[in-house]
């Protein structure tokens, strides 16, 4: 697991209040019951804070899974 994915996993665990959560690149809303449109925004703000990046709503609206979110974080950090 990359360092960024490991940190992202911690953010997911914190936002969804589930220490057992193990996020992979292909993890999507189908795998996490509470990952609805509202919690998605909560997750995005937590990611912004954790990685010191900022997203536009256009960038985050269509994210299909954790892998796409990870790629977006890495793009912002590059």
């Amino acid at each position: 697991m990359s360092e960024t994915l490991a940190r992202l996993n911690e953010v997911f665990q914190d936002v969804f209040e589930d220490e057992e959560l193990s996020v992979q690149a292909e993890t999507s809303a189908k795998d996490i019951d509470d990952w609805d449109s509202l919690m998605h925004v909560n997750l995005i703000l937590a990611v912004e804070s954790a990685f010191d990046v900022r997203f536009t709503s256009t960038e985050v609206a269509g994210l299909k899974d954790a892998g796409e979110l990870l790629a977006l974080i890495e793009k912002k950090q590059a």
Binding site: W35, D36, S37, H40, V41, I44, V60, A61, G62
Partner: protein, 325 residues
């Protein structure tokens, strides 16, 4: 072939919901499930409030959408709806953090949003779907039909201020066979879409949409409307009090208006921050409008630990005949 105006095809009263024919709504839900799974929970909340009426409203709105935009219209508008909902949720989250709306002036909003024709197209079709896909907006839609439209004469003349997508006016005309409507909007995309929706609903012969700043309407057409529709405009203005005066100016004495506004609900183009329902009531009363009925509705879920509850408020008002009523 679309049904004749005013006829809602999917299901008659008493028809079990399971036997109602709602192919377009079914298609929308299937598309949301495949492409926007995170939005499914909210859609189910909207539908579960009143499944039969939801199906009737949704199927007719979607028929108009397909007629106006073609077969791909549902997917494209659903994408726009998902984007718009994300925009709103992101704006609300930043509002929670900052304690104030991001925009302070209409000029700023116009430059960043309203002047972008392509973005406006998606914005308007996205909002079109919120009329029934957002649970609390579906409640407002039912208030519009049950409390406002039920009071209107079949041949009423309506003026709609800032019709946006035109869905409200088309809905009214489709259910009032002899009614007519003039709509005024500052956005050329709005005029285009409102005309397309009116045509799709078969009411274009009774609807006329004109590109014009709503606030300029005070200079013309005094007391020419039996009723006014002004949906979700007040929070987009720097000084909304003036708009209530415009509505008073346009209405015949005793005429009614359906006005909606957003409270502590951020959006990329919201400027005026209403915090209490009484603020809208007071602005109506100050402008000479008697408040007959109100509905304040809110989403079923909010951001965790939210300080602000985003609300949408509908007011049914009447132009006063004298100082008191």
């Amino acid at each position: 072939m679309l049904p004749a105006p005013g006829i809602i095809s999917p299901g008659l009263p008493g028809t079990p919901i399971s036997t109602m024919d709602t192919p377009l709504l079914d298609r929308l839900f299937a598309y949301v499930e495949s492409a926007h799974g995170r939005s499914l929970r909210g859609l189910n909340e909207a539908r579960e409030q009143e499944p039969r009426r939801f199906a009737q409203v949704a199927e007719l709105y979607l028929q108009w959408l397909v007629e106006a935009r073609g077969e791909s219209g549902i997917d494209a508008a659903t994408d726009a709806f998902a984007q718009f909902s994300t925009d709103v949720n992101m704006a609300q989250a930043r509002y929670e953090r900052d304690g104030a709306y991001a925009n302070k002036s209409f000029e700023e909003v116009y430059k960043d949003h309203y002047s972008d024709a392509e973005a406006m197209d998606g914005y308007l079709w996205g909002i079109y779907l919120t009329n029934f896909l957002w649970a609390h907006h579906f409640q407002i839609m039912m208030f519009f039909q049950d409390r406002f439209m039920s009071r209107l004469e079949k041949d009423a003349h309506l003026i709609e201020i800032a019709p946006g997508h035109g869905g409200w006016g088309a809905w009214a005309l489709a259910h009032l066979p002899g009614a007519s409507l003039e709509g005024y909007d500052i956005s050329p995309q709005s005029i285009q879409i409102a005309n397309a929706v009116a045509k799709a609903a078969g009411v274009d012969g009774r609807a006329k949409y004109v590109e014009k700043d709503a606030l300029d309407l005070e200079k013309v057409q005094a007391e020419s409307a039996n009723a006014c529709i002004c949906s979700f405009l007040v929070e987009h203005l720097e000084n909304p009090q003036h708009l209530y005066k415009v509505i008073h100016h346009l209405l015949k004495p005793g005429g009614t208006a359906f006005i909606t506004g957003a409270l502590t609900a951020a959006q990329v183009d919201h400027i005026y921050e209403y915090r209490y329902e009484s603020e809208l009531v007071m602005m109506c009363e100050k402008a000479g409008l008697r408040v007959l009925e109100t509905l304040s509705a809110n989403p079923m879920r909010t951001l965790p630990k939210a300080k602000f509850m985003p609300r949408s408020m509908a007011l049914l008002v009447q132009k006063r005949r004298n100082e008191i009523y």
